[in-house]
Symmetry: C2
Subunit: 136 residues, 2 copies
């Protein structure tokens, strides 16, 4: 099966602490993981909302992908991530199908081995594949 | 528990058939349900992507909420839906918390009893609650 499930939804916000507090209060979200990813210019907070996951992303600087996203569109959904068994195999399959990829090989994200597919391939949705192996 | 899980992600598209075909080809998505919702001016296709759900929404006319969304922002993620046990109870709780609601009472959507929370309440994310009762 190419995709196992939704893994998380990434949401761009300006103020991470304020957003974490609001998601906790309104939706009962709990922080599962936090990480500062210098390479991508973001501070990320992985939330559990029930059994679902929301990844809040705040830019470290305005001139970063998430900073420019906020400047252009304001806060909101930034990407959609699916759980897959094998990121490398999925990238190969998608490349063969002619899908426009951002990552030709996996990178390491908040949730381990991941790769991004260009938003043009999936109707404006920046799409991330998260490798969950046989563990999820 | 206020929220049980992610239920689906709504994606606005111009051409529903093209999007269904692409999501099937690239992500192995299968159509679970389709509905024409005159009141909201959309044709909706509920997809299963593995165990996850994506709801593709195409406007019936340009002058509809999804039509205006496409005009303003192009195709992309439109709303994020969470599964809850009891929509009425969650609306009451959110109202008490001062969250800005779109629906004061539930409406009927592609997935049954639902209600929308204003995007301002959750950092730019138009949020839907889907009542799954004890069945999901």
């Amino acid at each position: 099966m190419p995709v196992r499930a939704l893994h998380h939804v990434g949401v761009a916000v300006a103020d991470l602490d304020e957003a974490v507090e609001r998601y906790a209060r309104l939706l009962g979200a709990r922080v599962e993981a936090t990480e500062r990813v210098e390479e991508q210019g973001v501070q990320a907070a992985g939330l559990l909302v029930g059994e679902g996951r929301v990844e809040l992303l705040a830019p470290l600087e305005p001139d970063t992908p998430v900073g420019r996203f906020l400047e252009r569109r304001g806060p909101g959904m930034h990407h959609l991530a699916y759980a897959v068994d094998d990121v490398v195999a999925e990238l190969a399959r998608l490349r063969e199908d002619g899908a426009q990829l951002i990552d030709e090989t996996p990178r390491t994200g908040l949730y381990g081995r991941v790769a991004f597919i260009h938003h043009e391939a999936l109707f404006g949705v920046l799409t991330e594949l998260v490798e969950i192996g046989g563990t999820a």
